[in-house]
Subunit: 159 residues, 3 copies
Amino acid sequence: MAVDVALQFEVENLYARYASLLDDGPLRDWPDLFAEDCLYLLIPRDNYDRGLPLSIIRCESRGMLVDRVRATQETIMHEPRYLRHHITNVRVTNMDGQRLAVNAHYSVIEVLPDALPRILSVGRYIDVLQRRGDGALEFVEKRCVYDSVLVPNTIVYPV
Amino acid sequence: MAVDVALQFEVENLYARYASLLDDGPLRDWPDLFAEDCLYLLIPRDNYDRGLPLSIIRCESRGMLVDRVRATQETIMHEPRYLRHHITNVRVTNMDGQRLAVNAHYSVIEVLPDALPRILSVGRYIDVLQRRGDGALEFVEKRCVYDSVLVPNTIVYPV
Amino acid sequence: MAVDVALQFEVENLYARYASLLDDGPLRDWPDLFAEDCLYLLIPRDNYDRGLPLSIIRCESRGMLVDRVRATQETIMHEPRYLRHHITNVRVTNMDGQRLAVNAHYSVIEVLPDALPRILSVGRYIDVLQRRGDGALEFVEKRCVYDSVLVPNTIVYPV
C-alpha cells in the first residue's frame, strides 16, 4: 500500500474540519462530512474488543446524525458546555479500491460554566473513508472507541 | 483556494517552533516569530463570540511581547511552573494575497512543583500569517481564544 | 538543513505507529521500532536539564525493551489500565549523515477501571532516528523527558 503525502494531507484536513465543526460550529454542517448511508458509533473499548455491539450512540444514516444534532439543540435539556477535540496520530492503515481505513487518537476536553476544563473522553477513531462524486473524502463508517468505562456526567454532543 | 502540502508543512513547522519556544525555551526567542507590527490576544471565547474586546493579555507590537517575556522572567512574582502545549488540527482557512488565515486547536497543560499535571487552558488559535523578506512565515495576528471561563490560579506565560 | 515534506510524513508515521502499538497493541511489536543497539530513557525534566543521569526507566538495548514488555505482561503485579498517547509538534531539528534528531511533545492519559481519565505524564521526546537496511526509520535513542515531578501511582507501560 502506497500512502502518499498528498493523500495524508487530504485525510488530516477532513479530521481538522470534523473537529472544527464539533467544537466551533456550525454543528448543523457536521453531518455533511458523512456519506448518506453511513455508520456512526460511540462504543466503549471493552465492548469493541470483545465484539459486543452495545454502544452509547448508534446512528445508521446521515439522517440519524442530522436528528442527533437537532436533538442537542432543540430537545435535550442540558447545561451549556464547550468541547475541544485533539485528533492526532492519523494513519491510513489500509486502502481497498475506493475505500480507506483510517485510525486516529482523539481526546475531548469539556468546559462547563464555572468549572475548570476536564477530560470528557479519550480513545481512538476506527474509520472508513470514501470519495464522493466530486472527489472529496467523506466518512462511511466512524467508530469512536473510548477507553474509559466511566462517563463524567452526560454525553450531549457527538465525539 | 489551493493549499498545497508544502505550505501546510511550513505552517505546521511554525506552530511546532512556537510551542517549543514556549515550553522548552529560550523564551526570549518567542517574539521573533511575530511581525514587528503585530497583535497578540488572549481572549475568552464568550467575549470573542460576542465581539467584546476585553482580553486577559493584549499586546499590540513585538516590543510589547518582548516586555511581556521580560516581565515573566524578571518582574512578576510567580511559582515556578512548566507548560506543555499541544497544537493540532492546524488548517489554512483563507489565503488573501500575501496573508494566510490559519485556525488550530490548542491545549496547555501546566505542571507546578509537587503537583500532578493539570489542564491550564484549551481553545483555538485564530491567526493571520505573512511572509517576511527572507520568505519565512511569521504571525501578524494571533488570537488565543480560550474555552474556559475560570482560570486556575494565574496565567504567567503566553498561551 | 532541508527537511522535505516526504521525510516529515515518514517521521510522523513512525510516531503514529509508536503510539498505536503502546495504546492498542500488540505491545510485543513495540520494540521492533528500535535499533538493536539503542537507548530508551524515561527521565524527569529537572534531571535532564541539569545533566543528571537518574531516570525512571533506562534500557540500553532492544533486548531490554523486550524484557520490559514481558515484565508488564507477566511479572509486574498492576491494576489493569489503558493509556492514550497524543504526540504533536513533531519536528526534525537536525540531520547528520544517516541520523535525524527529532523533537516532539507528548501527553499520556491513563484510564483506570471505574475512574475518570487523568493525565499520567506530559513532556517531550528528544530522539535520534536512523534508517535500516530496508530503508525504514527506527529509533536509535529515545529520551522521554517528562515535565512533572510527581508521578500519580505507578508507571507500568513505556511512555
